[in-house]
């Protein structure tokens, strides 16, 4: 493998990412499964990097999951998206930052559709006006939250307390990066590094001390596939996709997986549990799974945030093996405590997956 070859491609896909003044829209899935990640993103942006990030409580889902489950028509989705644009415009912002990859892909798709079919934009403006009385401007800059962290990755590294390095061996940690399908597969030029060798997470990993693994099924979908997970009868497909990835990455002995999509880390985490329960198979060392992280969690760990503030207790595959490798301190007794330190019990241990 010649990384220089990839670097040439990365040079071709440098997207414009705004410097400051962001209008933030949340992700249904991210906040449900990784609330600590959105908290960490805002903390990093505001407190570590000193940026202006605004969130309007009246913003809603983009309907993305409903749209890709085909129960929400495109006109409806475009109009809901237009409403988010209107909230941004009304607040005096021009740089839209979605927390969600499905949203990011959808916003991009809507904006591209309007470019190619201006009559669609006209129609949506009328719909929105009629439904809400609102008007909007199309964002000047659209960047996914991972693009923003990518942009400031060097500052984060400079202010960081830890690096993605095995403290015992001094070797870089081996990291699998998994990119959400809708980040760049639809519009390669809208993703840092393009669709084939996305650089958005690789750049973070490199600057934070780790080493990215290129494995054959790197580009494969995690298997969410919207209706493929949301309806129980289809879940065998969903888990099969993730399994394909695990089988392909396992020979490289990755220390961790980093992701930029809200759903993927949840699936890559949970399906390891399901596979262990169905087939008795685990993919990490000593019966552990391969710990899966959001990029916000990794950024937070680098900056020395407390793992339990980041919400690592909400992972089914335990993250402690990785914390130990880096040498990040944590208090195991505080892992499952409530907001004010109260005891709210602990989850039962899975039968196959090693959580020690």
């Amino acid at each position: 493998m010649k990384v220089e070859g990839k670097r040439l491609i990365w040079k071709d896909y440098q997207k414009e990412i705004a410097e400051d003044k962001f209008f933030y829209v949340r992700s249904c899935i991210r906040q449900t499964f990784f609330p600590g990640s959105e908290w960490a993103f805002l903390k990093i942006m505001k407190e570590v990097l000193g940026k202006d990030v605004y969130e309007n409580p009246a913003h809603t889902t983009c309907t993305g999951i409903g749209y890709h489950s085909d129960i929400v028509p495109f006109d409806t989705t475009m109009t809901v998206v237009a409403r988010q644009f209107a909230l941004m415009t009304e607040a005096g912002y021009q740089n839209l930052v979605p927390s969600c990859i499905t949203s990011f892909g959808l916003y991009t798709e809507v904006m591209e559709t309007w470019k190619h079919f201006p009559e669609e934009e006209k129609k949506v403006r009328e719909y929105l006006k009629k439904a809400t009385g609102r008007e909007f401007e199309v964002p000047k800059n659209l960047a996914h939250a991972s693009d923003i962290i990518y942009k400031f990755r060097k500052q984060i590294a400079a202010k960081g307390k830890y690096r993605l390095i095995n403290k015992t061996t001094g070797e870089p940690l081996k990291v699998v990066e998994h990119i959400g399908c809708h980040y760049a597969k639809m519009f390669p030029s809208k993703g840092v590094g393009g669709a084939e060798y996305p650089y958005v997470l690789t750049g973070m990993v490199e600057d934070w001390g780790g080493e990215v693994i290129d494995y054959p099924e790197r580009r494969h979908c995690c298997g969410f596939g919207f209706r493929q997970y949301l309806v129980k009868a289809n879940r065998g497909f969903s888990v099969a996709c993730s399994k394909k990835k695990f089988e392909s990455m396992a020979p490289y002995k990755p220390d961790m997986i980093i992701t930029n999509c809200p759903g993927c880390p949840m699936f890559l985490d949970r399906w390891q549990y399901v596979i262990s329960e169905m087939e008795g198979k685990t993919y990490g060392e000593d019966g552990h799974g391969i710990p899966v992280f959001t990029y916000e969690e990794v950024a937070g760990l680098i900056l020395g945030f407390d793992p339990w503030d980041l919400g690592l207790q909400l992972h089914q595959v335990p993250t402690e093996p990785l914390l130990n490798k880096i040498g990040i301190p944590y208090d195991p007794f505080k892992k499952y405590l409530g907001k004010n330190g109260e005891d709210i019990g602990i989850p039962i241990k899975p039968s196959m997956l090693n959580t020690q």
């Binding site: 010649k2 220089e4 070859g5 290129d214 580009r219 020979p251």
Partner: protein, 338 residues
């Protein structure tokens, strides 16, 4: 008959055009931007369909050029001035060449396979192009993997940078299909234990003896064919390459490991074609090649009096086609100058 013709581009078409013009009694000057004439044929080992050494064809042209054609190598044209009766061609070294007519024979470049990102050329060591393979053949090198082993299986990918909107090239490059078959045979001959698989969309065996070569590759050499365009190539931990295609005749996705992958890089208009065409104000088609005056009846003429075109600057051509086309262009020049 003291008329002067300048032929721009010393590939197989330019060489043949200059020879024919010289033989017809014109002062033929051949301008070649590199150190030597011969063009792409210099880099080729054997030619389809009969696998004769490429050198033979080159020698055939070179011998006839001797003493008849004035050749200027390393000719970097910076300006072409059109006057009422002639053209003044200024070279970077300050030299001025005057011509009564110009034949543009600036040809093609091979598609830069790096641009087909998902095939991993320039990233995965065991992915090479058809041109890289010819070079290994010419240099008498063994065909080995990057790790130095005899490959157990080699994949040959058709249509790399051809018939592909993603690369910006919608056209067929014509010669890659038969080149792939030829190279598959050469590999099998050299490495009888190595399996060879060609991945294609259609096999465009348009020329005489091409289809026969295809049949020979199956019958005599056991070359395998899978109809399906390569979707992506990935590197395995051992450096081998994992291919993903649909076997469209089976209607199923297929994955296969190969130890070496060969990309049949197509034609793109050369840098010279683009530059000289622009200098002369010639029209380009949506494929980037120069558009002649009429695509059926005046393929060597242009809308500019005294400017003629030949060879692959007007679209992909085989050597046979280029030589015939060059002679045709020369008769058009003669017709114009008489």
């Amino acid at each position: 008959m003291n008329k002067k013709v300048v032929i721009i581009g010393g590939g197989i078409a330019g060489m043949e055009a200059s020879i024919t013009l010289a033989e017809l009694g014109y002062h033929a000057t051949l301008l070649e931007k590199s150190h030597s004439t011969g063009g792409h044929v210099q880099d080729w080992y054997q030619l389809f369909p009969n696998r004769r050494p490429a050198k033979e064809v080159l020698t055939f042209s070179e011998l006839r050029m001797e003493g008849k054609v004035k050749t200027i190598n390393d000719a970097d044209i910076i300006e072409i001035e059109k006057n009422i009766n002639d053209f003044r061609i200024l070279l970077r070294n300050g030299k001025l060449v005057v011509a009564d007519a110009i034949v543009v024979a600036t040809g093609f470049d091979l598609f830069d396979a790096h641009r087909k990102e998902e095939y991993g050329y320039g990233i995965y060591e065991n992915v090479i192009t058809s041109a890289d393979l010819e070079k290994r053949f010419s240099e008498g090198k063994k065909i080995l993997t990057h790790g130095g082993a005899v490959p157990k299986r080699i994949g040959i990918i058709h249509c790399v940078g051809s018939r592909d909107e993603k690369s910006g090239n919608n056209y067929c490059s014509k010669v890659c299909c038969v080149t792939g078959v030829k190279q598959a045979i050469e590999i099998r001959e050299m490495l009888p234990e190595t399996e060879v698989f060609c991945f294609y969309m259609d096999l465009r065996m348009f020329g005489r003896h091409f289809e026969e070569l295809y049949k020979e590759s199956q019958e005599k050499w056991g070359v395998n064919f899978i109809r399906g365009r390569l979707s992506e190539a990935n590197e395995n931990a051992d450096g081998s390459i994992l291919l993903k295609v649909e076997d469209t005749l089976a209607g199923k996705p297929l994955k296969m490991k190969v130890d070496l992958l060969i990309l049949l890089a197509g034609f793109v208009p050369s840098g010279g074609t683009k530059a000289i065409g622009k200098m002369l104000g010639l029209p380009f088609g949506d494929d980037g090649f120069i558009t002649p005056k009429d695509e059926h009846t005046s393929t060597n003429l242009t809308d500019i009096q005294g400017v003629f075109v030949t060879g692959s600057c007007t679209g992909p051509k085989s050597i046979q086609d280029s030589i015939a086309d060059a002679r045709a262009a020369a008769t058009q020049v003669a017709n114009y100058l008489k």
